[in-house]
Symmetry: C2
Subunit: 305 residues, 2 copies
Amino acid sequence: MRESELIAEICKHNAELAACGGAEVLVPPGDDMALVKLAGRRVLVAADQVIAGRHFALGTAMDLVARKALARNISDIAAMAGVPACAVATVALPASMPDHEVRALSDGLRAAALMFQCPVVGGDIGTHAAADGALVVSVSVLAEPGPTGRVVTRSGARVGDLLCVTGTLGDGWHPNGSGRHLSFTPRVAEALALVEALGDRLHAMIDISDGLARDAGHLAIASDVAVRIDAVQLPCADGAGWQAAVSTGEDYELAFACSGEPPASVAGTPVTVVGRFQESGGARVAVRVGTEEHDVSALGWEHGQ
Amino acid sequence: MRESELIAEICKHNAELAACGGAEVLVPPGDDMALVKLAGRRVLVAADQVIAGRHFALGTAMDLVARKALARNISDIAAMAGVPACAVATVALPASMPDHEVRALSDGLRAAALMFQCPVVGGDIGTHAAADGALVVSVSVLAEPGPTGRVVTRSGARVGDLLCVTGTLGDGWHPNGSGRHLSFTPRVAEALALVEALGDRLHAMIDISDGLARDAGHLAIASDVAVRIDAVQLPCADGAGWQAAVSTGEDYELAFACSGEPPASVAGTPVTVVGRFQESGGARVAVRVGTEEHDVSALGWEHGQ
């Protein structure tokens, strides 16, 4: 079962959430974060993990593993235009991991928390039964809406909206495990600046973790509009062609839908118009390359596979 | 490195938290949950995990694994006298896990969420690179203070306080993997009833996950008082002697310090006085058996070992 299928299955049961008691759920599972009401205030919450051999290559330095574990959660906060509040983390260690590596992981989490202004306030450390059990670092984050109070979901894109991205695409994850996924800075400031600059013209947003094709598809599905990407407009990273730019995972840039032109840059990061939402009632993602059009709905990146 | 050592090391850096930005941290790492201020309101947050072969035996039914993963977090909420609000979860699956087992795990999380009135509002599902990678279920929970607003920490026990426990002790975890740890009901209602009944006489509380000796020790260390347990008073589960009652992990009862007598029962669960906090400036846990006294500070249960 693919992760996306399972998540779709879980989301079918969203109606149960209301009957569950506990916090009122304003944005249910299926977006980058859930939005819940706690003591009358809106709080964003999400969880994500990194698994050795899957999200980072064996042998990756522990400070980079820790940084990535926190950073990809912070990227989800950016996608909702939230402001980081705090994090909790659990770590499942290989039984053979030497103390100095455990300490490097712990120090790395602290350093990342300082960098991203998101204190790690609790968690749990456990050890696998097996000496070679895969390191799993799971991080959950809490966030607040930004100064305007606006929370941006995946579901507001409309026919005629522009599809835009921040930064460059296509060098997030290299097959050898290197790439920007270990060193990126989540686009929190950029997201807040977009809310500020675009106001109600900003309709939907997501962070690009699965590749633009798939993540634009998430916007398209949630908003029930089809989208066409223009290959020549893609801000490809050095050495990346259009295929890499739409299918490489873990770029951790923002993709968003807006009506009218976006600013040329936000918080020092370039913004590029790369396509347009074109018709309602579909969830197709196409890329126009010269006179040809490629359906890329099935392209992209799924860690769970 | 033992988990407790690493946590002690992490707590040394608590002063950094304030400099980190993000949410104000009112109760830092080292208690059952952290208490943070979000949008002016107090929110409790914690994370805990279960690892195959460590927290549950291989072959355990997936609905029980899911239940335990959520329940032990809810038990942390009880320890602080909080009310469950919502949860997020990440799951690292063995690559070989069949779809029906994945579905059973997901259904089990939903069922547990309903039972504990704590909706699972988000998360992530990933797959190990290895076919036999150990299943890791990591759950984070948010909670609110109860109706009185009171949050109970580990650090308020005073000389002369009674040490009390709910329910019975010693049958949480059997060496074959069976035991109450798969089926317990977290003592949320009991904790709220204790706050109600005892008011300011309730000084400190913890849930018994590491065995009473170790968890009473956590109260003693956090409060800087020594505690003596009376073996004949221990509410031993069927077949458990005093040693099992103080050293078996995962009973998930509450242990608390109060001045004056506690109620005989709360929310239908018996309460037993099992000892007394006796002198300040120490963190010793002793058990009196007849005329002998055993130092049990080093006894108890550490999953991470």
